[in-house]
Symmetry: C2
Subunit: 102 residues, 2 copies
Amino acid sequence: MPRTLREFQDRIRTLYGSKDARRGVEGTFMWFMEEVGELSAALRGRSGGKDALALEFADVLAWLATLANIAGVDLDAAVEAKYGRGCPKCERTPCLCHEAKP
Amino acid sequence: MPRTLREFQDRIRTLYGSKDARRGVEGTFMWFMEEVGELSAALRGRSGGKDALALEFADVLAWLATLANIAGVDLDAAVEAKYGRGCPKCERTPCLCHEAKP
């Protein structure tokens, strides 16, 4: 099983890369949003239990990885750039400011 | 820098866990959606370049990790359960079915 973010993104590319390239960014974004809606329902406890909730998180993450693949973005490098030095606003760990993630 | 999904989720908890617990799932979901909106704009090329696009992906991923922390979901275990055996529909790698991710 892939464990790093890069391995997970590569795995999604291996599984679905050819379908993803044909669908394009607009169509993929609509699929991503459908999964976000299902996550919202699951978080409100309207569908299934804890296992079902976890699977909705997995689906949102998979479609986010697909969007990143289509857009040519490396998720691992992106989170390193944004969160690799602590809070991107105050640069502390844990965050001590009132600007980031209120 | 955290490299595995679990390390990334743990890092977001370390950075923002106390704020996240106070904000709760509903408020956090609204923040998550704001970042999804910014990702949509960046994908349409309306804001910044490739680096800005990557940072929007990082923000969506960070807020997804925050939601998972609040909900008590392990993202690594979730993607293992859903995508650890190939396509969850046809169980092939790459996917060969017409049900998953058309």
